[in-house]
């Protein structure tokens, strides 16, 4: 008889780690992300200097052994500021992504499951939220409640909702016509149960990749908002605010503007690389292409 041989590819989970270590983007991205997160966590326990302690004599010092990244206009240690600033950036971005996923994914999968009018209403709702870029929401909130880190979280979070709703809906719509969904329906499972058992696990990879992208965008957006003074307020250090304060002193001390900016670039780069790597690893269609 004809050998009806199973495909030669081994089960994915056995080789996942092996493949992950061979993926350069993933490895570099993961290392950067872990280092940034570790730096932020470390700042809770220890920073080289106490940043609430102002040493006016040490104002705007250049790089030295005592202050590896120099000091700012109030004599605070830049490295310590960046470490604590990482905390703020990561916290804002994580909560904002959480809001986006927590609201957007249920909405998107619900719309895909129900279709028809509910789907249409959701898509129009998406259009509506897309008309308010995060900065615009932040501006409106600030106009009423005054500036603060919470504004940034809410504004970026609101902006993330339609992004995740769209990704979840598109992913779910591509799964619904599959025959295993029909088989599950023939097994009497409700749409909600099918969504939990079959749809969500199969769009999880998609959502994870989008999550890293939105995380990176969240960090950029938070930096922009705090640069404008719409984010975290002093004395809480934030990368965007540090850049704002550096701008007026750029003639005298350009290094003030260099390091907070580099911190943003490296963090965002790490997250984007991680996202690219994850997509390569998780999306079988792209994997086959290689």
């Amino acid at each position: 008889m004809t050998p009806d041989a199973p495909p030669p590819s081994p089960p994915p989970e056995r080789h996942f780690l092996e493949m992950a270590f061979a993926n350069r983007s993933f490895v570099i991205g993961a290392i950067i992300t872990i280092l940034v997160a570790a730096m932020a966590l470390l700042s809770f326990l220890w920073t080289p200097y106490d940043i609430t302690h102002l040493v006016v004599a040490d104002r705007m010092k250049g790089l030295s052994l005592a202050h590896p990244l120099g000091t700012d206009h109030l004599g605070r240690d830049i490295l310590s500021m960046i470490m604590i600033g990482a905390r703020n950036s990561i916290a804002v971005a994580i909560v904002a992504v959480g809001i986006g996923m927590g609201v957007g994914v249920p909405l998107g999968t619900w719309a895909a499951a129900r279709g028809g009018l509910i789907d249409e209403i959701l898509m129009r709702f998406n259009d509506l939220v897309f008309a308010f870029p995060a900065l615009l929401s932040a501006i409106m909130i600030t106009a009423i409640f005054g500036p603060g880190a919470i504004n940034a979280i809410i504004a970026i979070g609101i902006f993330n909702v339609p992004v995740f709703a769209r990704v979840a809906r598109a992913g779910a719509l591509s799964i619904w016509p599959r025959e295993y969904i029909l088989a599950a329906r023939a097994a009497g499972k409700s749409k909600a149960l099918i969504t939990i058992e079959h749809i969500l696990p199969n769009i999880a990879a998609l959502l994870l990749v989008q999550g890293t992208i939105q995380f990176a965008l969240g960090i950029l957006a938070e930096a922009g908002l705090s640069y404008l003074g719409l984010g975290a307020q002093p004395p809480m250090p934030s990368w965007g605010r540090m850049l704002f304060e550096a701008q007026t002193r750029m003639m005298i001390a350009p290094h003030l503007a260099v390091f907070p900016g580099l911190a943003i670039v490296i963090t965002v780069l790490g997250l984007n690389l991680l996202g690219d790597g994850l997509r390569d690893l998780l999306d079988p269609r792209l994997r086959r292409e290689r």
Partner: protein, 544 residues
């Protein structure tokens, strides 16, 4: 002298050997049929001749076309050959045309490129060839876009592109596999005529022995990247000297043994298992204008029939005739616009999902695609156990495993397979898993939507055997949805022919297929490829 000569061709892709020592010849004006199951290397042989192989492919050996050494030819020389002396038609017409360009542009493009003709001249020639392939100007102006055409029409456009400059060799890679039988017969006729008119050589690649027997002068049988046997069609297919050729031929006409069909017919059942009465399904149609009310499209039109317990019935028809829509309504996955469906006397309409549980336990489904019918992230145990959700009392983990083991064993798999993932199985094994899932609740009715269409012939024979076996052992009733009359012939007692939403003819399978009365049934029977008939016709033709 040969038009195409392939000698000792070996091919590897990214280091994996794909072809081994292939030898093929095509004389000018000759039709060579290349047959084989999936993975036999048919398509890769064709792509080697076209030099359209994937980037990592490395070919060794000699391929000579019309005096040109193809493997050594530079890309510019190949560009001059392709589309001019060498044309190719692909399997999937739905994706073979550029969606953003008109069919006129796509046909004229190659003409302009090769002949240097100006736009009006090229368009005139494009018009002529489109007329020739059966797309007349009145209905198919050059300004049509691919999405406005059906699959069969798109395949005609692809053929027009390939034949616009009357190539010396046309390569057709499974050109009709994605089409229904009636369209298949039409497209094959068109290819046959075009080849004869222009004295083109044709390399016809197919998995279907009957199609090849019908079309080809000579046949090459391929398997696992090597040529098993080559020779004149009549000799190869009537004598079947090579064991693999014989195995293929037997598998493609395989009829499973079904002892009980006789006695069953005698035993009259008082109540039908399934009764469908006056069922209609409308879909909202496309809007014609901004304010015009859309005309609904009637997919299923006032269909009534009943199914006796233990019977196997085929619902046959062309693609788009409404048979899958009907199947979905029977499975209560879609609601009829009008009419009633009863299972065991219990009506399915207007029930909540909870109330349907009893009915659902008694009817399960097997789908066509052995790759798409499983959630890739679940293990076989969970997949097969899914319908147990319908039981009133939730089984314990041990009971569940026992049920799954039993179901797997009754479809010829091992109980130990339940811990594997679906991608660890072959297509035929997956279809067995699919059947195991369908029988786990001990249903009375199984609806099978094209259950063997995606399988290679030898696997398909085994799966048909399994269906026949389960029919007897578990006293199952089958409703087979298929466009393939050989499946209907092999395994069903009765057949219903569906055409444009209506059932136009029904009766015992042998009677209907031997002596079809309705026009739709006659067209289906006439178009269905038949190996014995084709070989006999060819023998008579060569014998004269």
């Amino acid at each position: 002298m040969s038009l195409l000569e392939i000698e000792n061709l070996s091919l590897s892709i990214a280091g994996h050997p794909v072809l081994r020592d292939i030898d093929l010849r095509i004389a000018p004006g000759e039709v060579l049929g290349v047959v084989g199951e999936s993975g036999s290397g048919k398509s890769m042989t064709a792509l080697t001749v076209m030099q359209l192989l994937p980037e990592l492919a490395r070919a060794k050996g000699r391929v000579t076309f019309d005096g040109v050494d193809i493997l050594a030819a530079p890309e510019e020389a190949m560009c001059r050959l392709r589309g001019d002396d060498l044309g190719m038609v692909f399997q999937e017409p739905m994706t073979a045309l550029n969606p953003v360009k008109t069919i006129g542009e796509q046909v004229a493009e190659g003409i302009r490129w090769h002949t240097g003709a100006n736009r009006p001249d090229a368009e005139a020639r494009a018009r002529a060839i489109l007329d020739r392939v059966g797309l007349p100007e009145a209905k198919f102006p050059l300004s049509r876009f691919p999405h406005e055409l059906s699959g069969g029409q798109r395949q005609r456009v692809v053929i027009a592109i390939a034949c616009a400059l009357k190539p010396k060799l046309l390569i057709a890679d499974e050109p009709t596999t994605a089409l229904d039988v009636v369209l298949q017969a039409q497209i094959l006729d068109l290819l046959r005529d075009l080849v004869a008119e222009n004295r083109m050589g044709l390399m016809l690649i197919s998995h279907d022995l009957a199609v090849v027997a019908d079309m080809a002068d000579r046949v090459s049988v391929m398997r696992n990247g090597a040529v098993m046997e080559s020779g004149p069609t009549v000799g190869v297919l009537s004598e079947q000297k090579h064991p693999y050729t014989r195995q293929l031929a037997e598998a493609s006409t395989h009829v499973p043994a079904r002892a009980r069909s006789q006695e069953k017919a005698e035993k009259q059942e008082p109540q039908p298992l399934l009764s469908v009465s006056g069922v209609t399904r409308d879909y909202p149609g496309r809007r014609k204008g901004l304010f015009a009310k859309p005309e609904p499209f009637r997919a299923v039109d006032n269909v009534s029939f009943s199914l006796a317990p233990g019977h196997a019935v085929a619902l046959v028809g062309r693609s788009g005739c409404g048979k899958s829509t009907l199947a979905r309504m029977i499975l209560a996955l879609d609601r009829p616009t009008a009419g009633e469906i009863r299972l065991n006397g219990e009506t399915l309409g207007g029930r909540s999902e909870y109330e349907l549980r009893h009915a659902r336990r008694n009817m399960q489904v097997v789908f066509q695609d052995p790759y798409g019918s499983f959630n890739p992230r679940h293990r076989v145990e969970r997949l097969v156990a899914e319908p147990l959700h319908l039981l009133d009392r939730k089984p314990t983990a041990a009971q569940r495993r026992e049920c799954v083991a039993e179901a797997l064993e009754s479809v010829g798999l091992n109980a130990g397979d339940m811990h594997k993932y679906p991608h660890e199985f072959s297509g035929g094994q997956r279809q067995r898993i699919s059947i195991a899932r369908a029988i786990i609740t001990r249903p009375k009715l199984i609806v099978a939507d094209e259950p063997v269409s995606a399988l290679d012939v030898s696997i398909r024979a085994q799966v048909l055997d399994l269906f026949a076996d389960l029919n007897q052992r578990l006293d199952l009733t089958y409703l087979f949805i298929t466009h393939d009359l050989t499946v209907a012939r092999a395994i069903t007692d009765d057949v219903m022919v569906m055409h444009e939403g209506r059932i136009v003819e029904s009766g015992p399978t042998a009677t209907v297929l031997q002596n079809p009365k309705s026009e739709a049934a006659r067209a289906l029977v006439a178009a269905a490829p038949d190996l014995e008939r084709a070989v006999a016709t060819r023998q008579r033709a060569t014998g004269d």
